[in-house]
């Protein structure tokens, strides 16, 4: 889903990953974390795609909202499990969205 209802400035977390061969429990956990993120204060939306790499971009009202989500207990446990089992490598970037353009046919 493309998120198209936001007005800059707001924040984006770009999370790019490659996975190990052990996918056991990964998709369930990814879905669970997406549902949990949606309940957080300041959550604005998420976009996600996977080919050789996976890219998940989540959008947030403020840096404070991102920090709170980072420190959420269930999210912290999921992240630790992710580093043990599922992620070969990841890069996480915290960005301020300054401008935005959209197109629709």
């Amino acid at each position: 889903m493309i998120v198209d209802n936001l007005k800059p400035p707001y924040y984006a977390v770009i999370f790019t990953t490659t996975l190990t061969e052990d996918r056991e429990g990964y998709y369930e956990m990814a879905e669970k974390m997406e549902s949990l993120a949606k309940e957080q204060e300041g959550y604005l939306g998420v976009e996600s795609a996977r080919s050789d790499v996976g890219i998940t971009v989540s959008y947030w009202e403020s840096l404070e909202a991102i920090t709170k989500w980072k420190n959420n207990v269930e999210h912290t446990e999921a992240r630790e499990l992710g580093r043990e089992k599922w992620y070969q490598k990841y890069q996480l970037r915290i960005c301020k969205v300054e401008r935005e353009y959209g197109f629709e046919q």
Copy 2:
């Protein structure tokens, strides 16, 4: 490919798309634009994935570099063709990357 050699602050362009059913020429053009982007001043890297939506994140040294790439003649022509033929919908966000964390097994 995960881009992991950058030091904030720098800029990210998050380009999220859905495609029409007409893919004729699309993949060739996407590849050509990726090659052309790499030759631009201030280009730092790109990450790309496609499921229901496609997400391409390109990284740049400055807003000026992004504007120059936007105004590049071949890129402008490709974008116009994209709006006519290939893109059902897109959202493009220009962001300042403020912080970054990486992990590798």
